[in-house]
Amino acid sequence: MLKIEKISKSFKALPVLEDISFEIKKGDFVAVMGPSGSGKSTLLYSISGMDSISAGQVLFEGVSISTMQEAELSRFRLTKMGFVFQNAQMLKNLSIFDNIILPGLVAKKESAEAIRKRASALMKRMEIEEIQSRDIREVSGGQLQRASICRAMINNPAMLFLDEPTGALNSGATDQVLAILEDLNREGMTVMTVTHDQRVAARAKKVIYIRDGQIAASKEFAVRADRERELDDWLREIV
């Protein structure tokens, strides 16, 4: 689904990503880990078309997004990708519900009514129906992050990108969000997340470890009850 071919990125001659290649298949759940400043968030934004790359190319379902014009890329992100950030980023002047449906209404792939219905269904599934009409300052961090996932899912994206999705959440909220991500992936959603949190990475099927802008190691994990310990062992080994 997503093929990354030898991408590099530099900031003012300072290399941040160097010669990175890997592939994400449909239905994958990939976690990118690494120390602070290793380039893992830059990698996520580069391969999702939110940031430019200096060399290499990113192919999404066979189409190169590296050469797309800004408007084309915007439309591509709107219809094919969903994004969730560490601090749930929402527009202050819209209610939670309107924030969720906005990308759907802009994409115009379906009728407004269908979009509203799906938004309600997504909120119900995330157990946040009661906050529909609330202001974004009137809900908890966990609720807001779940609302962000609803928004990311509103256009039925082909792939979900998450940047430290649990970084600002408490333990209970983290568990809720992780359970949702696991459910979505189980239903076929391709997920890529950047995280520091081993609990998040332990839900992934594949973990890529970045160090100094390069892939230091990567490993696929079978879905097993003890994969958190297995991940821990692997990380000790490579760190």
Binding site: S41, E70, S74, R75, D135
Partner: protein, 776 residues
């Protein structure tokens, strides 16, 4: 201090666009303030200088016809308060008899008199402000004609009569403290005594000016009363020094007044912008301020840190504004310098603007100090938590039916929530629109033929002046008999003007200029009451109403030929001619007392006014025939020329103002909304979408501001214009608007300029990378 300056330098680098725009704002305010005051300083100096050197009379009485020379001499010698007196002989030559470059001066409204240089006072000066001297066959030409007709030294003026012709070479241009301005309806040419005698043998009518200088502390009203009581020759208009001063102030001071008024508006706008920028800057910096406070930095040091930038800006703007005001002010002073010279109080043009910019700088510094202090009052915790973040903004809803035009819906929604942020930009756009339209509407009103109604007469096409002469009655009869039989003329009415004496509110006697004729032919809109319909009624001009202390319904007694005539005041009308003091009543003036017959006429539809004027000129050679539009243009020519300059300057300043505020505002708003921009981008909005949303918000605000500015220019503008003209005699002016320009062209240009600025200014949206914003 070094540390502070370093911080300022860094701040400038970081906020280059905003600081530059703010600096331009302040410089513009200082420039206009200093420029306006420089024009005012130059004007005072020039007028004072001309008065000192030319020594115009404090009172003058015109007279046509014969007079008793000895009686005048006795009158002067028997009144101690008369410091000096002069009888000026002026040879009035018809405009048809004067030609320049093959064309007669018939198209000029001015009455032209030929004089010799005076002795004692009332000197005509050359362009070096020295007493002008002309030799035989030479002529000194009023500056007015140099400006209007382009007459230059070395040119030839030809005087032609039936069997007489004389060429006079222009040896100098003349500055005339009495008759310089276009508002004065006579102009004096200087020739040698020999030439004057020669020409008078072939052309012209003598007119006399009895001129007086008074001892300090003597009122001209005292002289006026004594002069009348002594039955001194008075077949003509009486003019006081104060009337001359007013005419000069109006002609030259209007520009200074408007520039200073514009600068005041700009200063208010600049202070509003400063306040907005300081608050926006401090809002961004509140965490840093909180940290400084937490570390124990004294409040005064933090204040100084943030204030130093604005002190430097204010001082720098003051210096640049002051320096730039030198050429700027000189450009707008060119007319007064040309007409009156540099003057004798040159310091005024340097000191006035200096005081102005100093006051402006002080105002800015104190304003900043107040705003900064107010904004630094928050506690450490409030600052660190970030008040801005917890401040709740409004909300808007997306339409249930979906988003047909997402950008429009988002832009309007955000505008609804953040309208308070747009108040400053709204005020600036409104001011810009107001500034463009006000001088434009004023100029249009003055240039419109219906402006004649403010000159005390109804609307007509052509005006014919038959001035006092030995054959006045004959000329009048000839003109009337021709006009009444001309099938191309639809309406004609004749008015005779003469003088009666009346008592003002202070009990002093003064001359009252009365127009007598059928007031129903060219009806006039009256401020109060109506036109006189019988011999018992008199209408007064607005200024006369005030001076004589009369209202509609009051009775007024005037003296004509020693007889008391009592009238009821039936109406008050506006009139800016003859110093604003005229009256209308059916007084049967003797032919010898008629100063002038004025005939107004309308031509039938399809008849060209210009063509008819030319035709009448060829037939009625002794009369002065002027299309009314030209009459207005020439009488108020100086004012409209200055208005045109101000109009152009106002358009330039307003458009620059609109561009600057748009750039500044976009910088602030995009920086403030960086996270919303990032979120929108992450959702799939393109850069273009976001730029369109900003554009819609700003253009909607501008559209509203233009509407309000236009309404204000029409309503408040009328009041301002009325105030300006009330000293001339018109208190209630209806501004005439040229709809296509005012309501379509001007708004379109303003919108286009701002649209262009938005397109340029929102390019920064591209630089807001989602990653940088979200990872921040």
């Amino acid at each position: 201090m070094k540390l502070l300056l370093n911080l300022v330098r860094k701040d400038f680098k970081r906020n280059r666009v905003i600081t530059t725009a703010l600096a331009v704002f302040l410089i513009l305010s200082a420039l206009l303030m200093a420029g306006g005051l420089r024009v005012a300083g130059t004007m005072f100096s020039s007028l004072n200088g001309l008065d000192e050197l030319a020594m115009p009379p404090e009172y003058l009485q015109m007279h046509k016809g014969t007079y008793d020379e000895e009686a005048i001499e006795n009158f002067v010698s028997s009144h101690d308060y008369i410091k000096d007196a002069l009888t000026v002989r002026m040879l009035n030559v018809g405009n048809a008899n004067i030609s320049y470059q093959g064309e007669t001066l018939e198209k000029c409204l001015m009455d032209n008199g030929f004089v010799v240089q005076n002795q004692g006072f009332d000197y005509l000066l050359n362009m070096s402000n020295e007493r002008a001297v002309v030799n035989d066959d030479e002529i000194g030409v009023p500056v007015y004609y140099a400006e209007e007709l382009g007459i230059q030294v070395g040119d030839v003026i030809t005087l032609q009569g039936d069997d007489y012709s004389k060429e006079l070479r222009v040896s100098t241009l003349i500055r005339d403290a009495q008759m310089n301005v276009a508002l004065a309806s006579s102009k004096r040419f200087l020739i040698s005594p020999t030439d004057l005698e020669e020409i008078s043998g072939h052309l012209g009518e003598w007119e006399y000016c009895f001129e007086f200088l008074l001892k300090d502390g003597t009122s001209t009203a005292v002289l006026e009363k004594d002069y009348m009581d002594a039955a001194m020759p008075s077949n003509g208009v009486a003019i006081t020094g104060s009337l001359l001063t007013m005419l000069n102030a109006l002609s030259y001071g209007l520009v200074a007044f408007i520039i200073i008024a514009i600068s005041m508006l700009l200063i208010i706008i600049a202070l509003l912008c400063l306040s907005y920028i300081i608050r926006a800057t401090l809002a961004e910096e509140q965490v840093t301020i909180g940290e400084m406070k937490a570390m124990g930095f004294p409040g005064k040091s933090i204040e100084a840190l943030y204030q130093i930038k604005y002190i430097i800006l204010a001082l720098m703007s003051g210096v640049i504004g002051y320096l730039a005001a030198i050429p700027f002010g000189d450009f707008f002073s060119a007319s007064v310098i040309r007409y009156c010279g540099q003057g004798t109080d040159g310091w005024m043009q340097w000191v006035f603007p200096l005081i102005g910019v100093m006051l402006l700088s002080l105002m800015v510094v104190l304003g900043c100090h107040r705003i900064i202090r107010k904004n630094l009052k928050s506690t450490v915790v409030e600052l660190l938590r970030g008040q801005e973040n917890i401040k709740k903004e409004g909300r808007y809803s997306l339409p249930a039916a979906g988003l047909k035009h997402p950008n429009r819906v988002m832009a309007f929604g955000e505008l609804k929530c953040k309208w308070k942020e747009y108040i400053v930009i709204f005020l600036v756009f409104m001011t810009a629109s107001f500034l463009i339209l006000l001088p434009m509407n004023m100029k249009h009103t003055i240039e419109n033929p219906s402006f004649i109604t403010y000159m005390g007469i109804g609307e007509s096409d052509i005006r014919i002046d038959i001035q006092y002469s030995e054959k006045l009655t004959q000329q009048k009869e000839t003109a009337l008999s021709y006009l009444e039989n001309d099938s191309e003329i639809s309406k004609v009415a004749i008015y005779k003007n003469g003088y009666v004496q009346s008592q003002n509110a202070a009990g002093e006697w003064e001359y009252l200029r009365v127009e007598s004729g059928d007031e129903s032919v060219f009806p006039l809109a009256y401020l109060e009451g109506r036109a006189p319909v019988d011999g018992q009624e008199m209408a007064l001009s607005y200024m006369n109403g005030i001076a004589l202390g009369k209202k509609v319904g009051d009775t007024i007694t005037v003296v004509y030929q020693g007889q008391n005539l009592t009238f009821t005041v039936c109406g008050i009308y506006q009139d800016i001619t003859y110093g604003g003091k005229t009256a209308k009543a059916a007084i049967n003036f003797d032919e010898k007392d008629v100063e002038v017959y004025i005939i107004y006429l309308d031509v039938r539809d399809g008849v060209a006014i210009e063509k008819k004027t030319d035709e009448l000129r060829s037939l009625l050679t002794d009369s002065k025939i002027t299309p009314v539009s030209a009459f207005i243009a020439q009488t108020l020519g100086g004012i409209t020329d200055n208005m045109s300059l101000v109009e152009r300057a106002a358009i330039a300043v307003s458009l620059l103002l609109s561009m600057l505020i748009t750039i500044m505002f976009l910088q602030l708003i995009t920086a403030r909304e960086h996270s919303a921009i990032a979120i929108k981008k992450s959702m799939g909005f393109s850069n273009r979408d976001i730029r369109i949303q900003f554009g819609i918000r700003i253009l909607v605000i501008q559209g509203l501001a233009i509407v309000v500015g236009t309404v204000l220019a029409n309503s408040l503008g009328e009041v301002i214009f009325g105030c300006m003209l009330s000293s001339m005699g018109a208190a209630k002016i209806t501004l005439l608007v040229e709809p296509l320009t005012a309501y379509l062209l001007c708004p379109a240009i303003q919108l286009l300029v701002v649209l262009f600025t938005v397109v340029m200014g929102t390019r920064t949206v591209r630089n807001y990378h989602i990653k940088d914003q979200i990872m921040e």
